[in-house]
Symmetry: C2
Subunit: 339 residues, 2 copies
């Protein structure tokens, strides 16, 4: 058996699929942030040389995917499965990336938790032999996402302090079987449940997602019989400052107390301390870029041994809003380890 089932939500791989290559790219804002050096490619304008932001978003996805394939030395024809998603309606950029790549395609969507869902599904397919190589891919673009979920950035609408800035970034990881030449693997997964504490404010994503993060992290530690100290770093996807504070409070209430000193939030780490980003970065690109860029580098360089990446998603939608519904949150966890 290739899978050790640890509980309802978690499993561990006996022979963990390895990250044979990864690629991340982003916009100028992201490139100028504290983690700028971890990017493979930076687009200096928001259009990335295309005529629309939507096309730019797809271009970033393609660049990340191609970088991952090139680094691994694997041709796209050798990849059996693409698990990809994004924030746009009907996963449009991902569908067009799948068309361009020609790889058998599963469309993934759990908002900003999508990159971890994609890594979970791709690693599962590789671990059990359904795919030789599988590519996980996800990204976001500030101009397409804001336009779709809130207001076009060009309107210059005022935002409250709890807001976050949707980042421009895409990340890809090519997963291959254990034993391939690579220093980083995905050793385990915790699938998140939808948690909804009735937050309705689309400008407070941190409050929406924090309970889901706390729920998934608690489930992960419980089912893995581990403590926070077993990880060098625990990353939330994009809780932002407000969400991170709520998450710590919720975790303490659940008796999980040793998280704070090894807790990083991808959204905050990617953009750094800057008031113009309010509580920090958000969007699929946060967890994708920090998880597959900076965190991957820390493991590859031997600076860390084991990182838990918990991408958080707000299942926000104008359609749900029109139903006068609150915003459900979700968070999927992935264990990345140095081999």
């Amino acid at each position: 058996m290739e899978i050790l089932k640890l509980g309802r939500q978690s499993w561990r791989y006996v022979h963990p699929p390895q990250i044979c290559g990864q690629g991340i790219c982003g916009g100028r804002t992201e490139g100028q942030g504290p983690l700028g050096k971890s990017f493979d490619h930076i687009y200096t304008d928001l259009y990335a040389g295309e005529s629309t932001f939507e096309k730019a978003e797809q271009k970033m996805q393609m660049k990340a995917a191609e970088t991952a394939l090139t680094k691994a030395g694997v041709a796209r024809e050798q990849v059996d499965l693409l698990c990809a998603g994004d924030l746009l309606n009907q996963n449009t950029p991902s569908a067009f990336s799948a068309r361009a790549l020609g790889i058998p395609f599963f469309g993934m969507y759990t908002a900003c938790a999508t990159i971890c869902q994609a890594l979970a599904a791709a690693s599962l397919a590789v671990a059990c032999g359904a795919a030789g190589y599988a590519l996980a891919l996800a990204g976001s673009h500030t101009c397409t996402a804001e336009k779709q979920f809130r207001y076009p950035n060009e309107y210059g609408a005022q935002k409250p302090p709890s807001s976050q800035y949707t980042v421009c970034a895409a990340g890809a990881a090519l997963l291959g079987p254990a034993g391939t030449k690579s220093r980083v693997c995905i050793s385990g997964v915790t699938v998140g449940r939808v948690i909804d504490l009735s937050v309705c404010d689309p400008f407070n994503m941190g409050a929406v997602m924090a309970p889901a993060f706390a729920d998934t992290l608690a489930a992960h530690l419980r089912e893995n019989q581990r403590q926070a100290g077993d990880y060098d770093l625990i990353l939330s996807g994009d809780l932002g400052k407000a969400g991170q504070a709520i998450a710590l409070e919720l975790l303490e209430g659940n008796g999980v107390t040793d998280v704070a000193e090894r807790f990083g939030d991808c959204g905050q780490m990617l953009l750094g301390e800057n008031k113009k980003f309010f509580c920090g970065g958000s969007g699929i690109g946060c967890a994708a870029a920090v998880g597959l860029g900076h965190a991957y580098d820390l493991l590859r360089q031997g600076k860390m041994q084991r990182i838990l990446l918990c991408a958080t998603g707000a299942l926000l939608s104008p359609c749900a809003n029109q139903q006068r519904e609150s915003i459900p949150g979700i968070c999927h966890g992935i264990v990345m380890e140095r081999v």
Copy 2:
């Protein structure tokens, strides 16, 4: 090893996950069609007693899921994974179903091919032991889908003869490990690639999806080293009359000639011959209802031994349309067998 990898796109299960319970429900139109008897529940009005069509769509999903669980005698707390999707922006009804069910959740999206993607992912998770029970769930609603992708039905816009009617239906299947008391299993999967022959007409979904169907079916037969005659029935999801004719022509061109006499299209079968539905039914509900209803019944009752369900999806989106893009198609195949 639980998985036999047969080629790039296909795998077969050594111990096939079984359908422990299924549930389908639909609207009055679908209930009055030729397959009306296979439905577990029919909602006589399009609102299903709710205040909006979107809420009605989610209600149908929940009813299908609850029916599947009840028939299997399995509580929702015993289910480790929910793979669900729909046609609405950000998979809204599925996210709310996941919230209500409380089952760890992967959001799926490849348009009307979503039910087969969900069955593929759920069966994979069960087969390799990542999930004990996994629930696959998908559905569509004529009023929400038409409003989102074309025009609200209430406008009464004229449609060309190549049009199809998005059905109101939802289907769910609870998958459990081999050996559970059940007569029907999922024995294999073929994951589809995105195929795009540059069709741009959102009123001709058959032409968009037929090439993807032909591609997946040809890959399935080739990789499985089977012929069409090895199946009692080959079901396309929702090609409609126009798409079915194109698919047969494309298959003949590829040397696959024995499909016609065992070829059924879920969209046509569900609604029957009626000019008001133009080329037939479409929407996730077609493949979900016919595959998990009528086809499942044929296998369970011993009238058939092996059915190939190929759900077809048009990765249509107003967002893509605004990019002046053509409509990519995709098709995923699932082998359903009598145990």
